[in-house]
């Protein structure tokens, strides 16, 4: 009998590589429309319409956290994860788009801002605020980037199991092959993801990023639904879909079907987490790409539905995975649950395609985040130190590209160390951004806000976030909570971070002189 040309792991890898080539081609195509200006490289010359804005905003906010992280966390804690993140985000993210995004777009368009730091510097008439915000925004974005880089590595490892047993042997103590036997190691998968994303961002800038995001969002939404249906059939083993879903759900332990393991106060405190969307630097940059304010309407309305389409199947798959006898190495690493389900239950070709969908979600966030950090660096640090307009647009574009490569390198290097769960890391990043929400909200809606008030709020957020993140062993302690003195009610650490931010903002603003009328005239009618 003839031996097949490629083993199942190699077939899955081949499909993944073809998908990555398509993304690179898209970057090259976008570069052909490049106008040579920094506005075009960073904001696609404000040319993005409603459908592409919806797809790119959604693709940017849905990360490895939403697919790999949610499935793994549902496997650990049950259905409550949907309420914690998905339904809350459906309400709060759109609220942020509506209350914050459109106003920031309007001011950005009017005053020519390229980054959110430029907005704050101008609105508060404060050069200092930019230098304070820059390191903190980069520091908060790196854990978020790590979610994608680590998630990508985990997915590629899970999917290429058995591809190259001679090159990457991973055996257990008894000499038996583990699921990671022959698979591309996580460091290699993460490296591949970084390389592809940085390449098309480097070549295509924001237009390439928006196109790739739009395309990838369609890919992961469609393939996500297909994955769910196929896995439901496979796990349920019945002839029709409904019967299969009933059959597999009947086998799930009741504790995963309720919110038994999630205290109500902890659940309540999670409502603050999605406020982070108001301060994501990469989201700000996507908002600025919009052609007009009306462009936002579709994104505001459809965002909750898109979240539903992605999170519901992932949470169901997570609780269904509890009915399987998983290899100990997979059960111990919740980031591996989704890749293992897909690789073990479906044919290699199909699994390769579905992996492309998962990687699409991961890469569609990484690209925006990388580009945005490059943009902040050139506009808010280099431009400020060297003096505005001393550099040509060409130089700025190249400095942006250089900084993107540097950030990718640093993120990749950090990802090589031992890391916590994607879900935990993501939520810590979101908590820091949520702590900055009072600053952006007050800047837009409260004329009395002063430079000192905003600065003290940023410092209070940075300080409390760092103290608590360190106390959780940099996210490794997944059960880390805070309790009110004298009570046993657990809250997520975002609560004290947010409280410190609000307190510092209000007290310092009231103690300092109100801002000048000339600045206010630019931002308040």
């Amino acid at each position: 009998m003839n031996e097949p040309l490629l083993n199942p792991g190699q077939i899955r890898l081949l499909v993944i590589l073809i998908y990555m080539l398509i993304l690179l081609a898209m970057g090259v195509l976008a570069s052909r429309l490049f106008r040579g200006t920094k506005q075009d490289f960073l904001l696609a010359s404000h040319s993005i319409g409603p459908v592409l804005l919806l797809l790119s905003l959604f693709g940017t906010t849905m990360t490895a956290f939403a697919l790999v992280g949610s499935t793994g966390e549902a496997y650990r804690k049950g259905i409550g994860i949907y309420g914690l993140m998905a339904s809350a985000s459906g309400i709060v993210h759109s609220l942020c788009f509506f209350l914050i995004g459109i106003k920031l777009w309007k001011f950005g368009r009017r005053h020519g801002h390229l980054t959110q730091i430029q907005y704050f510097r101008d609105r508060l008439d404060s050069p200092l605020i930019g230098f304070l915000l820059f390191p903190f925004l980069v520091g908060l974005t790196i854990p978020y980037l790590l979610v994608g880089v680590i998630g990508g590595g985990a997915v590629i490892q899970g999917m290429t199991s058995g591809a190259f047993p001679a090159w990457f042997p991973v055996l257990d103590g008894n000499g038996q092959a583990t699921p990671a036997h022959g698979a591309l190691p996580e460091w290699l998968g993460s490296g591949l993801i970084c390389l592809v994303v940085v390449s098309y961002v480097f070549i295509g800038g924001m237009r390439g990023t928006a196109w790739a995001n739009g395309f990838q969002t369609l890919v992961f939404v469609i393939l996500g639904v297909v994955t769910f249906v196929l896995l439901a059939f496979k796990l349920g083993g019945e002839a029709d879909l409904l019967a299969s879903m009933r059959a597999v759900t009947e086998r799930v332990d009741v504790k995963y079907l309720t919110r038994e393991g999630i205290p109500p106060t902890y659940f309540l405190s999670y409502l603050l987490i999605p406020l982070s969307a108001a301060m994501f630097p990469h989201l700000f940059q996507h908002w600025l790409t919009a052609r007009s304010a009306e462009t936002f309407k579709l994104a505001v309305v459809c965002h909750p539905l898109f979240i539903l389409v992605v999170w519901l199947p992932c949470v169901m798959l997570g609780i269904w995975a509890t009915t399987l006898e998983l290899p100990p190495s997979v059960a111990a690493n919740q980031n591996q649950i989704l890749p293992y389900l897909v690789a073990s239950q479906l044919s290699p070709l199909l699994a390769g395609l579905l992996t492309a969908g998962i990687l699409a979600a991961i890469m569609s966030s990484l690209d925006s985040q990388f580009l945005c950090l490059g943009s902040i660096f050139t506009n808010d640090v280099v431009d400020r130190f060297l003096g505005r307009n001393r550099l040509s647009d060409r130089s700025i574009v190249w400095i942006t590209r250089g900084f993107v490569v540097l950030i990718v390198g640093v993120t990749y290097w950090i990802s090589l160390s031992k890391h916590p769960s994607i879900f935990s890391l993501g939520v810590w990043s979101f908590s820091g951004f949520a702590g900055l929400f009072p600053v952006v909200f007050a800047a837009l809606y409260w004329q009395r806000l002063t430079e000192a008030g905003a600065i003290s709020s940023i410092m209070a957020t940075a300080g409390s976030w760092l103290i608590l993140f360190r106390a959780s062993n940099w996210g490794a302690n997944k059960e880390f909570v805070v309790t009110l003195p004298g009570s046993e009610w657990p809250f997520h650490p975002v609560v004290p971070i947010f409280a410190c931010s609000v307190f510092a903002l209000l007290v310092t603003t009231w103690l300092t002189k109100p801002p000048g009328q000339s600045v206010l005239n630019r931002y308040f009618d």
């Binding site: 040579g36 920094k38 010359s45 339904s87 519901l312 949470v315 060409r394």
Partner: protein, 85 residues
């Protein structure tokens, strides 16, 4: 209308804290846990709420902003991978 929307968002956020469903193990259509089904409805209501908001309460000032634009500086430079044609 602004206050109706604020009220509707507040109600939705309160409804999101469904302590009464916490330990409810019942199923909808035999496969969807009730606690999950409830939050799917919350997601659908959120989309409906935002549809009503952008249809009925879209601030005029949002659209006015489109007319005042920052003038993009004219610059055309050719770099590797950048085409002028």
């Amino acid at each position: 209308m602004k206050y109706v929307i604020i009220l509707a968002v507040s109600i939705l956020l309160i409804a999101h804290q469904d302590y009464w469903n916490w330990n409810n193990p019942s199923m909808v259509w035999g496969f969807l846990p009730f606690g999950l089904f409830y939050h799917v409805i919350i997601s659908l209501l959120a989309a409906l709420l935002w549809l009503l908001t952008v249809t009925l309460a879209w601030p005029v000032s949002f659209s006015e902003g489109s007319s005042k634009r920052y003038a993009e500086p004219q610059a055309a430079v050719g770099t590797a991978g950048e085409r002028d044609e």
